[in-house]
């Protein structure tokens, strides 16, 4: 049994990544064509629109804006991807991060610690809160067999109501005579330093660290292997002694913990408090799209988050120049759809070619 030389194997791996990257790029190009047609039909000039997007997006200011907007998406997509790796669909990142934002913002005002510890404390509280909310769905699945897709969606609504109730009843800061719709502001020791003054804060670094950690845990650790095995073939994983219920619980807790960080760039980097209108929503759902686009791979997730951040950063300018800013959302949605379809098709083709090449390699072994 001769094995291929290492250089050949590296080449195979490189080829696979190139195929993946190429198919994603062509999908994006294809999506842009479809959107162009849509613009044309609605009587707008697609070239003008794309030109505007490029022009505004590529200015230095907007590149910072892109990084800023990408940060929560990286957290959210990583949270979703952990679940996807074992065929667990956490649609509840939305509720998890909003819940975590409120709890962390409030708890952050109740301690006094020196700077790095204070920040760390708030981040950990956010992760615990997110994990706690996510674990409800895991426990429902383990003990009652309730599909996590249903329960996490429902828990989003419950989270919104619980947050509103808790905020209005306990945490709202009324010292301003009732005009303030935020929690008490976090002391300066609990605020994340900016990387670029007022434009970009240090949470981007945290996000990149989390993605690297994600790669390490999922692709290199024993737990990650068990998680992926449970996704690839749950029956075989169980037969091999990997406890299914425990995997569901841990995966969901990890997913929720990372989800808890989604709003942190705002909470400790921007607003320094929680407020119903001060903390942006919808990142949980956008994260699903980013994870899909990035194929749950760390590099893909960062790339997809940057692309989404880039598109988002241009939407205000588009509006000003008479192009509907919602075209950005349309482009994002179409990109995700096209990428999913193209990826599926190209991975089928890749699988077939792998099988053929293996058969060929075996034939040449036989004749030797």
């Amino acid at each position: 049994m001769s094995t291929k030389p290492a250089s050949q194997r590296n080449f195979d791996a490189l080829q696979k990544s190139l195929v993946t990257f190429g198919s994603s790029l062509s999908a994006i190009a294809f999506a842009l064509v479809i959107c162009g047609l849509l613009l044309l039909v609605t009587g707008k000039d697609p070239f003008a629109a794309y030109g505007k997007i490029l022009e505004t997006g590529l200015s230095g200011d907007k590149l910072l804006e892109m990084l800023k907007r990408a940060t929560p998406l990286i957290f959210s997509a990583t949270a979703v991807a952990i679940g996807f790796k074992m065929n667990l669909f956490n649609i509840g990142v939305e509720g998890q991060y909003l819940f975590a934002a409120l709890i962390a913002a409030e708890m952050g005002t109740r301690v006094s610690l020196p700077r790095p510890l204070h920040i760390l404390f708030i981040l950990i509280v956010a992760m615990i809160a997110g994990a706690a909310w996510a674990s409800i769905a895991a426990l429902l699945k383990i003990h009652r067999g309730i599909n996590e897709v249903i329960s996490t969606i429902m828990l989003n609504y419950i989270a919104l109501s619980v947050i509103q109730w808790m905020f209005e009843t306990f945490f709202r800061d009324d010292s301003d005579g009732g005009l303030n719709v935020k929690t008490t502001e976090i002391a300066p020791s609990g605020r994340m330093p900016d990387l670029v003054d007022d434009r970009l804060n240090g949470m981007l670094i945290v996000a990149l660290l989390i993605v690297i950690l994600y790669w390490f845990v999922i692709f290199r650790s024993r737990f990650g292997f068990q998680l992926r095995a449970s996704g690839l073939n749950p029956i075989a994983a169980r037969t091999a002694g990997i406890p299914a219920n425990r995997m569901v619980l841990i995966a969901m807790i990890l997913s929720g913990a990372i989800a808890g960080l989604v709003a942190m760039p705002a909470v400790i980097g921007d607003v320094y408090a929680y407020g119903p209108s001060a903390i942006a929503t919808q990142f949980g759902f956008a994260g699903i799209a980013v994870a899909l686009l990035g194929r749950n791979h760390p590099v893909g997730i960062v790339g997809a988050a940057l692309l989404f951040g880039f598109l988002d950063s241009t939407s205000a300018e588009l509006q000003l120049s008479g192009i509907p800013s919602s075209i950005v959302k349309v482009i994002q949605a179409i990109i995700v759809l096209v990428v999913v379809i193209v990826n599926e098709a190209s991975s089928r083709r890749f699988n077939r070619r792998t099988a053929e090449r293996a058969a060929l390699a075996l034939k040449s072994l036989d004749t030797q």
Binding site: M1, T3, K4, R9, D12, R220, S221, R222, F223, G224, F225, Q226, R228, A229, L232, N233, I235, A236, A237, R238, T239, A240, G241, I242, P243, N351, R352, T354, A355, E356, A358, A359, A361, L362, L365
Partner: protein, 513 residues
């Protein structure tokens, strides 16, 4: 049902005395050849049996005839017309009907509703149950089936459900009926009833293609027998001109690996024991009922039985995949409350029934597949030791002769036999104390089979205890030191392989003794 209604029927074949003719059919799936140049002629209004071992390609051939698969090459003629079925509905339109091994009935609908489901007779868009009832009654009477058309399926036994499946196919106008292992799920009396019905059916002009690997039944009921081995036709014979032994030889080939006499002795210590093991069933019937046995060091205990008599549930209970009553002991310690992982840690290994469903991650690389279940040993701290994992996979590939370019290819590129060698290798590589091997050689070629047997023997000689579950009598007789026969969830007999014969085993396996 008229030949002309099949869209693709164009050319008239020369000999049309045969209602079905398959010529030089080949079909391969990635990495495996399922059918190789198979030809088959079936005469009108006869029962034509197709026999062969598990994995010989019988089912694939029938799926091609029924339009579920398209052949890579070769032609199919039905009623003298060369046809190509792109889907089962085209096959049905041409008069070919199939009764699958696993029934496809709606439990809460009545017999009549199930039969007409999908081809409901209507008058101006309104369901006309009356006509359907009359028609179904006629068909049923003509083949001697007595069944209450208004009972819900959930109240019927297995034999009657099968009758409903047959009526369903006949109601759609099938004149060629393909039965895939119809007796696998039946008890002997039901088998007799089925054969009576089939005989009557043939008398009305229907042609039956009957897939089986049970030779006695095939000899009893069929007019002609075609033997398939490793994807190719061996011969078509008349039941008069062969006997059971001759047929078995044709099925497995003359190059059947011989079982060497063992030179080592069975040890004294009991390594695996079950006491009054019962697996509770969903309804009244328990799949495993009060089973007790033990396996000593270096001993192979064979569990023989027709599929579906509780062997699967027994294995799952021993491993801890399903809850059970009674006790299970590994080396004298009760493990019945332990998790799967803890049992595996105590030295248990399991070669599952269905390698693809329960054993492999088809999309993952070979080294990841061989790592599954051994993550603990092959890691450094919380991290997987990639070099060690790949190394261990290369050792398995080498030692068990897995044919593959390297350990990085995904598992789906391997042929079935090589996939099985990988699963067997993964379980034997760590030298377990106890091996539960379920159909360790099902569906793999003779060479691979011999290799797997040899490895099991070698591990046995080193002191491993083996519980060998198999429906392959040659395997059970050749490997086991002791044979337990399972029938209907219970141990029906304990036999000595030196004195047991396939005939005796067969009788216990079917509960006729």
């Amino acid at each position: 049902m008229q030949a002309g209604s099949a869209k693709s029927s164009q050319t008239l074949s020369a000999e049309s005395a045969n209602i079905v003719e398959l010529k030089n059919i080949s079909k391969s799936f990635p990495g495996v050849i399922a059918n190789r140049d198979i030809s088959l002629q079936v005469a009108r209004a006869t029962i034509h049996a197709i026999v062969g071992e598990n994995g010989a390609g019988k089912s694939t051939l029938m799926k091609i005839l029924y339009g579920l698969h398209q052949p890579d090459s070769g032609t199919i003629s039905v009623n003298g017309y060369v046809t190509q079925f792109k889907s089962p509905s085209e096959a049905i339109a041409a008069g070919v009907g199939m009764v699958h091994q696993h029934f496809m009935l709606a439990d809460n609908l009545t017999v009549l509703e199930n039969i007409i489901l999908g081809s409901e007779p209507t008058k101006i868009g309104v369901l006309s149950l009356g006509d359907a009832r009359k028609q179904v009654k006629e068909i049923a009477t003509s083949i001697g089936v007595e069944i209450d058309l208004d009972l819900p399926i959930s109240e019927l036994g297995v034999g009657q459900r099968q009758r409903v499946e047959i009526l369903k196919v006949l109601f759609r106008g099938a004149e060629i009926l393909v039965l895939d292992e119809p007796t696998a799920v039946l008890v002997p009396q039901e088998v007799d009833e089925l054969f009576t019905n089939l005989r009557k059916l043939v008398a009305t002009g229907t042609t039956i293609i009957f897939i089986s690997h049970k030779l006695d039944e095939v000899l009893a009921v069929s007019d002609e027998i075609t033997v398939i081995r490793q994807g190719s036709t061996v011969a078509t014979v008349l039941p008069k001109s062969v006997d059971r032994l001759k047929l078995a030889e044709m099925m497995v080939g003359s190059d059947l690996p011989s079982h060497g006499k063992r030179t080592t002795k069975v040890g004294a210590t009991i390594q695996l024991a079950a006491h009054n093991l019962t697996v509770l069933g969903k309804d009244n019937k328990n799949p495993v009922q009060n089973v007790s046995f033990n396996v000593a060091e270096g001993e192979i205990v064979g569990i023989a039985g027709v599929d579906g008599n509780g062997q699967f549930e027994l294995c799952e209970a021993l491993l801890g995949l399903v809850a059970s009553q009674g006790t299970i002991e590994i080396s004298g310690t009760d493990v019945s409350k332990l998790s799967i992982r803890e049992r595996l840690k105590k030295g248990l290994a399991y070669i599952p029934f269905d390698r693809q469903r329960e054993g492999l991650m088809l999309g993952a690389s070979l080294w990841e597949n061989s790592l599954l279940g051994h993550e603990q040993q092959l890691s450094r701290g919380p991290m997987i030791d990639l070099a060690a994992a790949k190394n261990s996979c290369r050792e398995i590939i080498e030692r068990f002769g897995v044919t593959t370019p390297n350990e990085l290819v995904p598992a789906f590129v391997l042929s079935g036999g090589n996939q099985q060698k990988l699963v067997v290798g993964r379980n034997l590589a760590t030298a377990p104390k106890i091996l539960i091997a379920a159909h360790p050689t099902r569906g793999i070629d003779v060479g691979a089979q011999a290799a797997v047997w040899e490895e099991i023997r070698r591990s046995r000689d080193a002191g491993m205890s083996v519980l060998l579950v198999s429906a392959d009598l040659e395997e059970v007789l050749g490997l086991s030191d002791r044979i337990l026969v399972m029938f209907d969830g219970e141990i029906a007999a304990e036999l000595d392989p030196k004195s047991a014969t396939p005939q005796i085993l067969g009788k216990y396996m079917t509960g006729t003794r």
